[in-house]
Amino acid sequence: MLAVTLVTVKCVNPGFYEPTNLANLGVQLVPFAIMTVGMTLVVLVREIDVSIGSLAGVVSAVLGLAATQDHWNLGTGMAVALAVATGTLVGVVNGCLVALMRLPSIIVTLAMMAVLKGAGQILLDGKWVSSLPLDLRAIAAGGVPIWVGLAVIAGAYAMLTLHPWGWRLRAVGSHPEAAAKVGLPLRRLKILSFTLMGFLTAVATVVSVPQLSVVESGFGSGWELFVITCVVLGGVSISGGKGTLFGALLGVAVMGTMRSVLVYLKLGDQAVYWERAIQGGLILVAAVADRIIALRKSQVTTRETV
């Protein structure tokens, strides 16, 4: 799927493969890759978090206000710490409400989304935070975001495959009752997932905000949909338990390059209303192709066993 897209764009506009563009694309995808890692953990335990877009907005506001001189002026290090703490705290709250109060995560995080949206607007008060300090801007310069992204992916991969948490999370997602019976700490694992989601949303925001010169209240809007689409497209089962990190990240690659590729295909100024439909169509094609391949595979194996 990704291959088809990439070949098409190669034929139409080889400029897409300029090294600077590929590097740009990498930096562009990193925040989403980081959040997708978090969302994969949450979806694996059969939950969902729709508050991450608004959380990114609040974290960006905290980061911007804390770092700039004419606002809280706490210095860049402190600002980053505060931003990450905010994200993590919201994650903990989400996790506790879901796991301890046994509330459906869609309701908890939907409410949280509204709360955070309001909080972000209160913090920024309709104004922009501009003149971000240079040492904050440096976070997004060069390869820093890419290294952070790789570190997050490596860490999550290690956790999911090497550490017992990996199979425990899957177990909780695929069969919660059974998991509870064998004595797995169901609640703690769910809280852990949400906490990491909040933490990673904050990390993604911290590497993404300094790319821009202005923090405003629209930051992060719609990110939750983008990230959830990536996860589902990547083959992570929304009913929990099944799916790989690699698949989800492939989802990010498809969704992210798609947006960029649509610009490079030069569809002209008339095509603008078509793009959503094209994007959705490509996703459907990908899903169908995926299914056909899976069916073929299972047929082959049955034939072999017979």
């Binding site: 563009n21 790319q211 010169s213 719609g222 030069k266 100024d269 603008v272 209303y273």
Partner: protein, 332 residues
């Protein structure tokens, strides 16, 4: 439960304290009393408008201006102020309407009591006011953007792209329509793409970067939402293309000052806010004196000369262009 009751009564009490009983008698000063209501008081944009309004009332001499509005931008408080002014029997109320639905009944009640009501900056339902002092029509904005780009490019040729708000934003779509009409005047100016940014600065940033990659000959970007403008400018700056790829749009001068000074942005468009305040006061006074009536097609302004009236819209005129030569004179 009792705590909720206590809270409610407390809130009621504070509300009662903050809204003093209104004096129900007409004030007599001989001057035309004009109340200018901004969407939100204390915002630099509206403060700048009020400076112009103050100048108008000084120039005219027979006007008493009251500039007041909710500091939190709430429509309820705005409606309360309109009611208060109506009760005091002022002559004119000029409203920058932050919520047509919420203000309609207060505005209608004011008109029923003989107060002349006009809107400025942001319009309300047609039957709640007599005139709207319109700072910029979609045509003026669309034409202004294209003309500015053509002028900044020097030879008015090359590939240009639009980064808009969302594809459903009515204002922007209306501007784009007029931009396309105006582009016919510059045959060498070619619009290659229109991309949404969904009020997401990051998306505007990423999209502008992709546009520059996909169209290596791109010479200009119209970033026509307040969020898209800094996002697009930042992408151009980081790509080292400041001055090579031009970007223009609508914003307040303060928001884009840094980009104008470092050469990334050549021109920023916005209407003359002080003139908007000035004209609003003049229109209000003329209405109260009976010098301006429905159906008029022109209005004589002291500062602006003859201004056009289209239907019930008094038109401020072409937008202002801020460049590095004049941007320091403005602080809003």
């Amino acid at each position: 439960m009792s705590r909720a009751l206590l809270l409610a009564s407390l809130m009621l009490l504070t509300w009662a304290c903050t809204s003093p009983p209104s004096a129900d008698k007409k004030e007599k000063s001989g001057k035309t009393v004009i109340c200018l209501l901004p969407k939100k008081k204390g915002v630099p944009y509206f403060t700048s408008c009020s400076v112009g309004a103050e100048a108008a009332s000084k120039d005219l001499g027979d006007v008493e201006l009251r500039y007041d509005g909710p500091t939190d931008g709430s429509a309820e408080k705005a409606a309360e102020m309109i009611e208060k002014w109506t009760a005091k029997g002022v002559d004119v109320i000029a409203v920058s309407c932050n919520d047509p639905g919420a203000l309609a009944s207060a505005m209608r009640a004011a008109r029923a009591k003989g107060v002349k009501v006009v809107t400025w900056d942001a319009d309300a339902d047609a039957d709640t006011r007599e005139f709207f002092v319109n700072q910029a029509t979609p045509e003026q904005i669309g034409f202004g953007l294209v003309d500015t780009m053509a002028k900044d490019l020097g030879d008015a040729s090359g590939e240009v792209a639009i980064v808009t708000a969302s594809l459903t934003a009515a204002n922007q779509n209306e501007w784009i329509k007029h931009m396309k009409i105006r582009m016919a005047k510059y045959p060498n100016l070619r619009l290659v793409a229109v991309k949404p940014s969904n009020e997401d600065q990051k998306l505007a940033f990423d999209t502008t970067r992709d546009l520059m990659g996909a169209y290596p000959n791109l010479r200009g970007v119209f970033a026509i939402s307040s969020v898209a403008f800094p996002g697009a400018a930042e992408a151009i700056k980081q790509a080292g293309k400041s001055g090579k790829v031009l970007v223009t749009g609508l914003a307040t001068p303060n928001d884009m000052k840094a980009f104008v000074k470092d050469g990334t942005v050549t021109s920023v468009l916005l209407w003359k806010t002080e003139d908007l305040g000035y004209l609003t006061v003049e229109v209000g006074r003329a209405l109260a004196k009976g010098e301006l009536k429905a159906g008029a097609t022109e209005f004589e302004s002291r500062r602006l000369g003859k201004v056009k009236i289209a239907g019930d819209n008094v038109l401020l005129g072409d937008p202002m262009v801020f460049t590095k030569d004049n941007i320091d004179q403005f602080d809003f």
